[in-house]
């Protein structure tokens, strides 16, 4: 049976697009990843360091299992995956159809440099006469029109910027490998014929159209036109009607017979409109009345061209699509430009500063003023540039800029001792996440000053530009302060892309007022159009962490669509290549690529070949050409067949050393990939040739060109020695091979979900929807978790919860166990046998009879311990409101917790139709001491409650005391609404919180107001304490499955940014509040993200061992278990029944620590044996004395 795997289009190759693509690819979907620019990575390719570890960790996104299918190097250097087809420089032109069969048209810019042929020698770059600002360095440096898109890219291939290129073709002449072809530009391929008897009309039309890039022919008469049409195919004809001899209408008829697809536009004088109309009846497309403006005609031509161009687009059919085009950064020089960006030297955007900090940036590790070149000592950051700014129509917070500025200021202060002052001017420091506050504290400790004030504007100092920038601001209570800075960094916000808005409008996707795509309620990755999902900044500003989670959620939703439309997830085909070859005597063939005579000219290949043949195991040394091409590869394979070689070493350029290229060769040669090694000799040949030529030039040799000088030098025995050594290293790599392959791993293809809140239910439904059985365990009598009390009178939320509950209970692959907890587990990861025990709660007669009735089956079963087998576990145990530490009431005036107040509002125990006086105190016990994290949910909830009160009675008084108003992203509108509704908001400092004095009628509150510079007091009826969220995770539960808790008691993620929903052991997942505090939408996103990971694992069936996986030589193993405690991934376990050590192929990353600690040499990492490795090292170092 042939199963068609789901095919998903991902638009946008930024971090969200990559993340979604990898999630889909991991689960076996075929992905088409389309990116408009010339490299993957989006904005992140320009950021060297990210919060929270001030490093880059993008590679942690890469799959942990089946790693042989994918690239395993730095993600900024490039990406490949068997299941992902990457199309760069490609636009999505149109979308038609329904989920399950979308027809999409893609338009790819013709590549002028063939990446396979380009060896990255850089001669083209040297030859190019064009200099343009380099967008990669935010315009701080310049580059040529031919350039390498990304300095850290693994591929050396150059690319041509079609907008900057002047078509001089100097690069084409300079290229030694013929990689550059100037394909006809698309507009040039569009042929236009202008027919008119007046020369002036012909000439001006030709000029207008040629300026637009079209190729234009002219004819003075109809007869001439027909002659031209005999030889050339035209796509459009503009013809006059009244001409001597044959008129335009007759020409139209004849031309249409010759070239039926021709679009014809009639040009006519006003008097002859009738005949133009007649012509249209005969098949003319349109007419224009003379005299006309150029724009009129150009618009017509461009419409025809668009149709012509669309017909040549690549058309694909996909099941679903994910949009991830991201956002633009705000351009601070639009409109009023109060900070004088581009006018005042030293005012830079945060992206420019990021590039200034980068190793590959303009300063190259020195932090200097972009205008004066002096070292920068005093730096200020201005937050909210283009965000939270209603003047610019940006009612949202951009989410990422606060943390980005914290990071940048800390980096500047710690990496550059010259920096004496680093000040961040902010309005609210939005450290709204789990580890964010800790990071900001680190910055404070590093000496960064945080000043709560907005700087109104900057004025240039006209007297002395080098004197620095005078910054004036309003300090708390006092009047104004001022300080001089060398550099001002504008923390620019996000802006929705116009192109996305146009696309959304065209395709009926709902947008919000700010221009972002509006996600469906409770489905954070769904757009209003079924089958099209959105992630990243498209649905509102996001930081990296949120984007990664949402991308996985979008991937899960896309998989669901594919399943709904009967698309099968593919079965993994086991690779069963016989490894008997390992036992054969090596017969090695070395294939040296001539690279279009480049190698031949520079290197004495005969001598190299002779030197290599000295090794008796080298069966043959073949010269081939263009190994990167099909024909070159075929020739080489023929060589292998001829010589009967069983090992292959290629000596070529960097392109052929790539993992996917080696795999391709191995497949063609029918060899295991371990038997194929690639050596990049071209790069060192070019380097040596350059060195030789510069030596020749500097020694004042004759005027002959450097390239001609070089060969003579490289052909000496001394010069070929390094090449031979390099190739020999490759030979030694394939000589010995691991004898034992790693073992695959079985697993139970069931999932266990612990926690029946909304996150747990969503994860269970998503996993079950992909065809896997799920056990859902909930300790309370009813499902629903926090959503039961959270609804704030929202009928939507109640309906959603009921709908999800009903779906879970009705699903035939989900077994629900209420009043149950995880007791213990046996087995090992993937083969867990977990015992579930009943919970006997005190309130056995709780108010959830309705659910009990539905669940009677499973509840009955829960009376005794029973066992479930599962391969993955999702911990969705949720969180609860933190204890306020003081007595609270449930009715009447007094002190409430946020949850208590919510319940009082919903139960109407407070009369809110009468005016009430309420004070809400944020961060009560939160963001300090042992709970030094922001709980995210409390600020928005307080504002919602305040608005609710104000809407019920305008005379109600609501005071909100806050430290930083945490309303990131589109939640900012809630803050604005609350302000507009007359809610009174007072910021306070952590060390100086408001004081409560409860009395019989409520409470008196005194606080000191920083702006008024005095103490204030007010009497209120109700005090609401926002205490934040504490996790329900217990160390026992986490450790049962080999996971751990972090310092706050939440689930310890493998990486809080890049692997946000899993533990180091990838079969242990978590979602919702168990991970960190989230609002409902984010919780749902994490649930889907966790489900996506679970599905990817479960769909493996039997996990195939990777090439670099560790394995155990059981005969040597004494079961000392040193390796078990040493393994950082929890991949090693003792199978007590069989008395052997087993390895989880899913968890093992081939790091080799086990091999290092094993005292008896029983632990081996695949592909590497000590003799093998030592041999490679010896060869590589031979000749180095």
């Amino acid at each position: 049976m042939t199963q068609q795997s789901a095919r998903i289009l991902v638009v946008g190759g930024g971090i969200s697009g990559i993340s979604a693509s990898l999630d889909l690819a991991r689960a076996g979907c075929q992905v088409l990843l389309v990116e408009q620019s010339d490299h993957l990575g989006g904005l992140l390719s320009q950021l060297d360091r990210q919060f929270p570890d001030s490093g880059c960790g993008m590679c942690r996104l890469l799959p942990l299992f089946n790693r042989d299918q994918t690239s395993d190097h730095c993600l900024r250097r490039g990406l490949f995956h068997e299941n992902i087809e990457i199309c760069l420089c490609t636009d999505l032109v149109s979308v038609e159809g329904e989920p399950g069969s979308f027809t999409v048209a893609l338009k790819q810019q013709a590549a002028r440099v063939d990446p396979a042929l380009c060896i990255g020698c850089g001669r083209c770059e040297a030859a190019c006469p064009v200099d343009v600002p380099d967008p990669f360095n935010a315009g701080l440096t310049s580059r040529k029109a031919i350039y390498r898109p990304c300095p850290q890219s693994f591929s050396y291939a150059y690319t041509i910027d079609p907008y900057a290129c002047k078509d001089c073709r100097a690069c084409q002449d300079a290229c030694p490998t013929g990689a550059i072809t100037f394909a006809v530009k698309e507009r040039e391929a569009f042929h236009v014929l202008v027919v008119d008897d007046e020369k002036i009309v012909r000439d001006s039309m030709k000029e207008w159209l040629a300026e637009e890039g079209y190729q234009v022919w002219t004819a003075a008469s109809a007869k001439k036109a027909l002659e031209l049409m005999a030889d050339t195919t035209f796509h459009m004809m503009l013809t006059d009607i009244k001409m001597p001899g044959m008129d335009g209408v007759e020409l139209l008829g004849r031309a249409k017979k010759l070239q039926p697809d021709l679009d014809v536009v009639m040009m006519t004088a006003y008097a002859a409109v009738d005949s133009a109309v007649e012509a249209m009846k005969q098949g003319a497309l349109d007419y224009v009345i003379k005299p006309f403006e150029p724009d009129t005609v150009l618009a017509m031509v461009s419409t025809c061209f668009a149709a012509f161009s669309a017909a040549r687009a690549r058309v694909e059919t996909v099941d679903a699509m994910i949009l991830a085009q991201g956002n633009n950064l705000f351009a601070p020089d639009v409109k009023t430009n109060p900070y004088g960006y581009r006018h005042i030297p030293g005012v830079v955007t945060s992206l420019e500063f990021e590039r200034m900090l980068s190793h590959a940036g303009p300063g190259q590790d020195t932090l200097v003023h972009p205008a004066t070149g002096h070292p920068v000592q005093r730096i200020a950051w201005f937050q909210c540039v283009g965000s939270r700014d209603l003047q610019y129509g940006n009612a949202f917070c951009s989410s990422f800029c606060c943390m980005a500025s914290v990071k940048q200021s800390m980096l500047a202060k710690t990496l550059y001792p010259q920096v004496t002052d680093a000040c961040v001017f902010y309005m609210d420091l939005r450290t709204s996440g789990k580890a964010y506050d800790l990071y900001a504290d680190q910055a404070r400790q590093a000496g960064v000053a945080f000043i709560r004030s907005r700087v109104h504007s900057l004025a240039p100092d006209t007297t002395d530009p080098g004197a620095g920038i005078r910054v004036v601001w309003a300090d708390g209570a006092a009047k104004t302060c001022e300080k001089i800075f060398d550099l001002v960094v504008l923390a620019v916000g996000q802006q929705p892309k116009d192109a996305v808005a146009v696309f959304a409008e065209k395709n009926g996707i709902a947008m919000d007022a700010s221009g972002f795509i509006r996600p469906e309620p409770f489905y954070p990755a769904h757009t209003s159009r079924s089958g099209i999902f959105a992630c990243g900044g498209l649905t509102g500003p996001k930081d990296i962490h949120e984007s990664i989670v949402l991308a996985s959620a979008a991937a899960m939703s896309a998989m669901e669509t594919a399943v709904m439309t009967d698309c099968q997830m593919p079965e993994k085909s086991a690779s069963t290549k016989p490894v008997t070859i390992a036992k054969e005597v090596p017969r090695i063939m070395v294939a040296i690529c001539r690279c279009r005579d480049l190698v031949q000219e520079t290197l004495d290949t005969e001598a190299v070949s002779h030197a290599l043949r000295l090794d008796p195991e080298v069966a043959a040394v073949e010269m081939t050409d263009r190994l990167c091409r099909e024909d070159g590869m075929d020739a080489m394979i023929a060589g292998i067949r001829k010589t009967g070689a069983n090992r292959l070493v290629t000596a070529s350029c960097a392109f052929c050393v790539k993992k996917q290229q080696l795999q391709k060769m191995a497949d063609l040669a029918d060899l295991p990939v371990q038997c194929v090694a690639g050596v990049d000799v071209i790069t060192s040949i070019i380097a040596a040739a350059e060195k030789a030529s510069s030596a020749a030039t500097s020694s004042g040799a004759a005027t002959s060109s450097a390239a001609e000088k070089a060969p003579a030098v490289l052909k000496t025995a001394f010069a070929i020695q390094p090449m031979v050594r390099q190739i020999r290293t490759g030979i030694s790599r394939v000589k010995t091979m691991p004898l034992e392959p790693g073992k695959g791993g079985d697993m139970f293809s069931r999932a266990l979900v612990v926690g029946g809140g909304i996150a747990g239910m969503t994860a269970a439904l998503a996993i079950a929807g992909q065809g896997f059985s799920v056990d859902l365990v909930e300790k309370s009598p009813a499902l629903g978790g926090n959503l039961v009390w959270l609804h704030l009178g929202s009928e939507d939320l109640t309906a959603f919860l009921e709908d999800r509950k009903a779906a879970v209970l009705a699903h035939d692959r989900i077994r629900v166990h209420t009043r149950t907890r995880v007791h213990s587990t046996t087995g090992r990861p993937g083969l867990w046998e977990t015992r579930l025990a009943p919970v006997h709660s005190a309130d056995e007669d709780g108010p959830s009879d309705k659910d009990d009735a539905v669940l009677s089956d499973s509840s009955k079963g829960a009376s005794s311990i029973h066992q479930v087998r599962h391969g993955v576990v999702v911990l969705a145990v949720g969180g609860t409101q933190a204890d306020p530490g003081i007595a609270t009431c449930e009715t009447g005036p007094g002190i409430y917790t946020q949850q208590g107040f919510q319940q009082a509002l919903d139960n109407k125990t407070i009369d809110i139709d009468a005016p009430v006086r309420v004070a809400m105190i944020q961060c009560w016990g939160s963001r300090q001491n042992d709970r030094n994290y922001c709980s995210r949910v409390c600020c928005p909830r307080s504002l919602e409650q305040a608005l609710f009160l104000k809407n019920r009675n305008q005379d109600s008084q609501v005071h909100v005391f806050y430290r930083d108003m945490m309303t990131p992203g589109l939640l900012e509108t809630l803050y604005t609404q609350a302000r507009q509704a007359g809610v009174l908001l007072f910021p306070y400092e952590k060390q100086n919180p408001p004081c409560l004095e409860p009395d019989d009628n409520g409470c008196k509150i005194t606080w000191s107001d920083a702006i008024l510079g005095r103490s204030m007091e007010t009497a209120v009826d109700y005090v609401v304490l926002a205490t934040g969220v504490t996790p329900n995770m217990t160390p026992d539960l986490a450790q049962t499955f080999g996971a751990d808790l972090d310092q706050f008691g939440f689930f310890d993620q493998a990486d809080s940014k890049w692997r946000p929903v899993e533990a180091l052991q990838p079969r242990v997942l978590a979602c919702g509040l168990a991970l960190e505090p989230f609002n409902i939408a984010s919780s749902l996103a994490t649930a889907r993200a966790a489900a996506a990971r679970a599905v990817a694992i479960l769909s493996q069936g039997k996990v195939q061992p990777g090439l670099d996986m560790a394995h155990v030589r059981n005969s040597y193993c004494s079961l000392c278990q040193l390796c078990i405690s040493a393994c950082p991934y929890g991949a090693r376990h003792v199978d007590h029944q069989a008395g052997v050590l087993v390895i989880d192929p899913l968890a093992c990353q081939g790091c080799g620590i086990c091999a290092a600690v094993c005292p008896s040499g029983a632990a081996v990492v695949g592909g590497i044996s000590p003799t093998h490795m030592l041999d490679v090292i010896n060869t590589a170092l031979s000749g180095h004395g």
Binding site: T336, P338, C384, R388, D389, L390, Q391, M427, S453, R454, V455, H456, S457, V472, W473, A474, D475, A477, K479, T480, Y975, T976, R979, Q980, A981, G982, L984, L985, P987, D1009, I1011, L1012, G1013, M1016
Partner: protein, 188 residues
Amino acid sequence: MALSDISEKLAALPEISHRVDQIKHLVDACIQCGTCSASCPNLDFMDMTPRRMWRYLLAGRVEKVFASQTFTLCSSCYVCTLRCPRGLPLTEAMAGLKQVAFALKLEQFRRSRLFYAAFMENIRQYGRVREMEMMTRYFLAVKNPLVPLGYASMGARLLKKNKLHPRLPSRGSGKLAHLFEQAHRQEH
């Protein structure tokens, strides 16, 4: 005492009290970032920063607002309005506060009120300011012989620079009278 005075006065005049509410709503969305204060060119002469004044207004402490001279010093340069990230009509709100203060005939704004009145009357009459006459009328209205003395040195300096042009009062051309009437009708 003066503070309770204003509350009582406002309570007695619902129309003006409503006007104060309207002004408050103009600045409701204020997030107290301080942009207005730092950008104000007259800040140094104010007894209270605009930020603090808006804060008192939003907190409902109207007596504090009217105990300060800050809003009378607003010269309507509109810089704060231009720079405010919330796009609030701050200059308009300042003008509103002046109107309320003058309408309440509060003693502490008497001189301000009379100065504005003299200024506007001068404009109405001549279509421009005749400094000498304006100040004379202002001094007559203030009815305090000490006030002109306070301006003596400035007057002397202006005279020296030939900036004052004594002219006899005339009936004026009166062309703006119609405009003033129209504006008055619109406001009331």
